[in-house]
């Protein structure tokens, strides 16, 4: 860039700074313009879990936006499990396919991210150079840059916040137990009316991690890798809690639901009285869809519940990397984030710092009716950080040994 151009650009930037938010400024940067030009006309294959029609509809809507705004086509490859996409990229790497891979973008987090990053299956860093990155609430929501204690280092870009909330039908259960001790007593007093998804399902493991937070003498150890020497003694109170309730679980602990939707179905069928979900807006969204009664309510536990973020990542050999970055950036757009938070659409929590948004965008969030079953932000309680991934693996394995082979 010669001196004259530099001056012009500087003058432009100076005027722009006063008129435009930083994201809009970045969006005009020559680097990003190059990405947009490259992305135009591309078809991005986004591999994402396809088990929820609400999410599928939302992704289709994002696709329409991408087409209208940037001329990027989006195809949602509906997966039964994220591991299918991970396996796919791994198979391509083993077959020596280093360009033109089938997967452009993956909805990912936690262990899948850790595994892909460790194997060099991801492209990056890219997240922090997205124009909308400046809107992300990095200070207030540390989970957007630390995935299961692993720093994301820009190899994945967040698009939704999740926090564990418990769900119940207030018509059947007027006052739910709001601490782990109260929950334990309630389960014993009401046999067969509570259960959790079978680990290693992620929601089932999340419940175990929540137990660890609530029962361990010093939960701070969860942020470090498992220490083999003290492990057994450290987690003993957690197993004691579970041992006490297991005979009183749904089906006396002889069968468990497979995953979050299966648990939700049990609650809808009145097979259990208390369920839980990794989405504070799920109950309201289901009420809006007419599939749960409007007497459903949610609560969190005293001391807080586990919270984490959902991310998108780009495989190392993605055929349409520029298009994938455009989609990752679009997912951070205030309009898109506000739509995701609408309980009539998804009920996902935003990753943005709403208070710092320009008035027009802030108004989109303030206008949202969060729904009758959704807790207001001040009642949510603290979001506890995910433990180090080694805890999830170790606790999951131990669970299988203790309860997973019941016969």
């Amino acid at each position: 860039m010669n001196r004259r151009h530099f001056l012009v650009a500087g003058a432009l930037a100076a005027t722009a700074l006063t008129a435009l938010p930083p994201s809009a400024l970045l969006a005009q940067s020559p680097d990003w313009q190059t990405v947009l030009a490259e992305a135009k006309g591309q078809t991005v294959y986004w591999h994402a879990w396809g088990g929820d029609p609400k999410i599928n509809d939302f992704i289709a809507w994002v696709g329409d936006q991408a087409q209208d705004r940037y001329g990027v086509a989006l195809t949602h490859v509906k997966l039964a499990s994220t591991a299918d996409a991970v396996a796919r990229v791994l198979a391509e790497k083993e077959a020596g396919i280093t360009t033109g891979g089938a997967v452009d973008l993956i909805w990912i987090n936690g262990e899948n991210f850790a595994a892909m990053k460790a194997q060099g299956l991801l492209q990056g860093p890219f997240a922090e150079s997205l124009p909308n990155w400046n809107l992300v609430d990095v200070a207030g929501k540390p989970a957007v840059v630390t995935d299961f204690t692993l720093p994301t280092e820009g190899f994945e870009s967040p698009w939704a916040m999740a926090q564990l909330v418990f769900e119940y039908d207030s018509a059947r259960l007027p006052t739910p137990p709001q601490s782990l001790e109260a929950l334990q007593q309630w389960i014993i007093a009401n046999p067969g009316r509570f259960t959790y998804p079978q680990p290693p399902d992620y929601l089932g493991t999340t419940f175990l991690k929540q137990l660890a937070y609530g029962t361990l003498a010093d939960p701070a150890v969860l942020q470090k890798p498992v220490d083999d020497a003290s492990y057994a003694q450290t987690v003993a109170p957690m197993w004691a809690w579970l041992d006490a309730v297991t005979p009183h679980l749904w089906r006396a602990g002889k069968a468990y639901p497979q995953n979050e939707p299966a648990l939700g179905q049990l609650l809808a069928d009145s097979e259990i009285d208390i369920g839980f979900a990794f989405n504070p807006g799920r109950a309201s969204a289901e009420i809006a869809a007419g599939t749960l009664p409007d007497t459903m309510r949610t609560f969190t536990l005293a001391g807080g519940t586990i919270g984490n973020a959902s991310f998108v990542a780009i495989p190392f050999n993605a055929a349409h990397s520029a298009g994938a970055r455009v989609i990752a950036n679009l997912l951070l757009d205030p309009q898109v984030q506000a739509r995701a938070q609408d309980p009539g659409v998804l009920g996902f929590q935003t990753v943005l710092n709403v208070a710092a948004l320009p008035a027009e965008d802030r108004a989109r969030f303030e206008a949202l009716d969060l729904g009758i079953a959704t807790l207001p932000p001040e009642a949510m309680g603290p979001a506890l950080l995910e433990p180090h991934a080694s805890w999830m693996i170790r606790i999951g394995q131990d669970w299988v040994e203790r309860y997973g082979v019941a016969q």
């Binding site: 591999h47 396809g50 088990g51 391509e92 749904w250 089906r251 069968a255 997973g404």
Partner: protein
């Protein structure tokens, strides 16, 4: 005379020489992908002194998981076989039997996952049956805490498997029956004082079983390796071996993939062992049957028992499948539907409206793939059968075994290997590659449906046409094909249904970019959303059912003035 070669009696044309190679080409098409895939799966298991295999062998759930796979597989196959034989032996060819024949097509068309989910919704403590009698008869305000589904004994899974296996075995039996001369043999036995059932068992069963043997092995292998049904109905603490393999495959740490490969290798060994043991049991049963025949088995009382039992079981299982599907259909238009309401509180078309565009899009692609795979399979099968007739080739037992290879080797054991092969060749990710993979599974079924009617076609038709001077091609096109219209259409309907139902081959070879009704349905069913599963399950059933309906309707129109000409399936 100098050793001048004798002129061959029938000079073979170039096309004829090509035709002669058809069986070899078919065998290659079946063996090559399975062998290449198996190799790709087993090779990693042997790395590092077979460490993954050792890890699987020391997994503490292994004994129970293996027992469950064997138990549910063997019991459901045995149960389905007994019910099929009861129906065939006791119902003769009366009205009830014809009704069952008509029900067969839609029953075959119900996809396994939809059948399992329908059944699950029917028999769960919060299911339709409980809702119908609650609270007025049971007093249940909320569902009782009963372990009906996912029971540790695997009985719900066995029941579900039987419900899907009976229609398939019945179809195979109906195809084989015409060659057993059943009616005359039973009549003859009856004239000697035996009951219908005893006459069938002694006179028909030995011949019939010889033809059913391989389909039964295929059913046994399928039942022992089924994944979708095992997840929905089977136990989970631990699950069956096949379900555990999928859990390992889905392990996010990627190290589970080696375990999955080792588990799949074990699975192949398990299936082959089960088949060998089954074969030994056949020998014992055959001894016992001979002894009973020599002792003059007549069992007239068996007839009185067998008929009502056969009727009850045959229609009972059909009823289970149909009501399960009806339940799913109702869910697809349900708004709020809480326990213990017998019907939804509100009805809505939201599910269909939402799923509509995707349904239409994936239906087109599903049909295109199914049509290509089925037509290719049909061409190969017809070429094989025609070659067999024209060159008097006799298909050995080996040939038949090869035909069943893709059905007996568990899909999960060779498809991942096949995927990496196709990745290396750069042929995956397109719809025609998926159609080619489907061909491996469609071909055996098309062959099985068509072989018997083709071989039992009255040879005098051929002779008559030849004596009138018809060349082989003309004979084939103007005589054989029209005569076999009904079995050909049935074989095509079976082929379409098989292709439409394929999940793993579509997912792995299609790279996720080829979206069929079934890949969509399986992705959606991971969300356990009964409403959507209802919509997709119905669509998945209707598509092949339309094929079967055409296969029944078309010949009826074509042959309306030529009843006697029609070859029956």
């Amino acid at each position: 005379m100098p050793n001048k070669p004798l002129p061959s009696p029938r000079p073979t044309s170039k096309a004829g020489a090509l035709l002669r190679q058809a069986p070899r080409l078919t065998v290659l098409l079946l063996v090559a992908p399975v062998a290449a895939g198996l190799f790709g799966t087993i090779a990693p298991v042997l790395r590092d002194h077979a460490a993954p295999m050792q890890a699987v062998l020391t997994w503490q759930g292994l004994p129970v998981a293996v027992m469950l796979s064997v138990k549910t597989g063997v019991l459901s196959t045995l149960g389905a076989l007994v019910i099929t034989l009861l129906v065939v032996a006791s119902l003769g060819d009366g009205r009830a039997f014809r009704l069952i024949q008509h029900l067969l097509a839609p029953l075959l068309a119900v996809p396994h996952a939809a059948a399992a989910l329908g059944l699950a919704f029917l028999i769960a403590p919060s299911g339709w049956l409980a809702r119908l009698v609650s609270p007025w008869a049971t007093g249940w305000q909320h569902p009782p805490d009963l372990l009906v589904l996912n029971d540790p004994g695997g009985w719900a899974l066995t029941l579900g498997l039987m419900a899907k296996e009976v229609p398939f075995l019945l179809l195979m039996t109906l195809a084989a029956l015409p060659q057993t001369d059943a009616r005359r043999r039973v009549l003859q036995a009856q004239s000697l004082g035996a009951g219908r059932v005893a006459g069938f068992v002694v006179g028909v069963l030995p011949t019939l079983y010889a033809q059913l043997r391989l389909p039964i092995y295929a059913v046994l292998a399928y039942a022992m390796t089924v994944v979708d049904m095992a997840f929905i109905l089977g136990p989970t603490l631990p699950p069956t071996l096949s379900a555990q393999i999928v859990i390992w495959m889905n392990d996010p740490s990627l190290s589970g993939r080696d375990l999955a490969a080792a588990g799949a290798t074990l699975q192949v060994a398990l299936v082959l062992t089960a088949i060998v043991i089954w074969r030994l049991a056949e020998a014992v049963a055959s001894r016992l049957l001979t002894r009973a025949a020599w002792a003059g088995l007549r069992a007239p009382l068996a007839d009185r028992m067998a008929r009502p039992i056969g009727l009850a079981l045959g229609f009972g299982f059909a009823g289970l499948l149909f009501s399960g599907l009806a339940g799913l259909g109702l869910w697809s238009v349900a708004g709020l539907w809480q326990f213990p309401d017998a019907t939804p509180e509100t009805l809505s078309l939201t599910t269909w409206r939402r799923a509509g565009p995707d349904l239409v899009a994936s239906t087109g692609l599903t049909l295109a793939i199914a049509a290509v795979a089925t037509l290719a399979a049909l061409a190969l099968v017809l070429a094989c059968l025609e070659a067999e007739q024209r060159f008097s080739l006799s298909p050995g037992a080996n040939g038949l075994f090869i035909l069943y290879l893709p059905l007996i080797i568990p899909q999960i054991a060779f498809l991942p290997g096949l995927q990496s092969l196709s990745l290396r060749l750069g042929v995956e990710g397109s719809w025609w590659a998926v159609a080619a993979a489907h061909l491996v599974f469609v071909l055996p079924y098309v062959f099985l449906s068509l072989a018997a009617p083709y071989r039992s076609l009255d040879p005098r038709f051929r002779l008559a046409a030849q004596s009138l001077g018809a060349r082989p091609l003309r004979l084939f096109v103007t005589v054989i094909l029209p005569l076999l219209l009904r079995p050909i259409l049935t074989a095509m309907a079976v082929g379409l249904a098989v292709s439409i139902g394929q999940y793993l081959p579509t997912l792995l070879i299609g790279g996720g970019r080829v979206e069929t009704l079934t890949t969509e349905a399986v992705a959606l069913s991971s969300g356990a959303n009964r409403r959507l599963i209802g919509a997709y399950g119905l669509a998945q059933t209707l598509l092949p059912a339309a094929g079967f309906a055409l296969a029944i309707a078309l010949p009826a129109i074509v042959f309306r003035h030529r009843r006697g000409m029609e070859a029956r399936t």
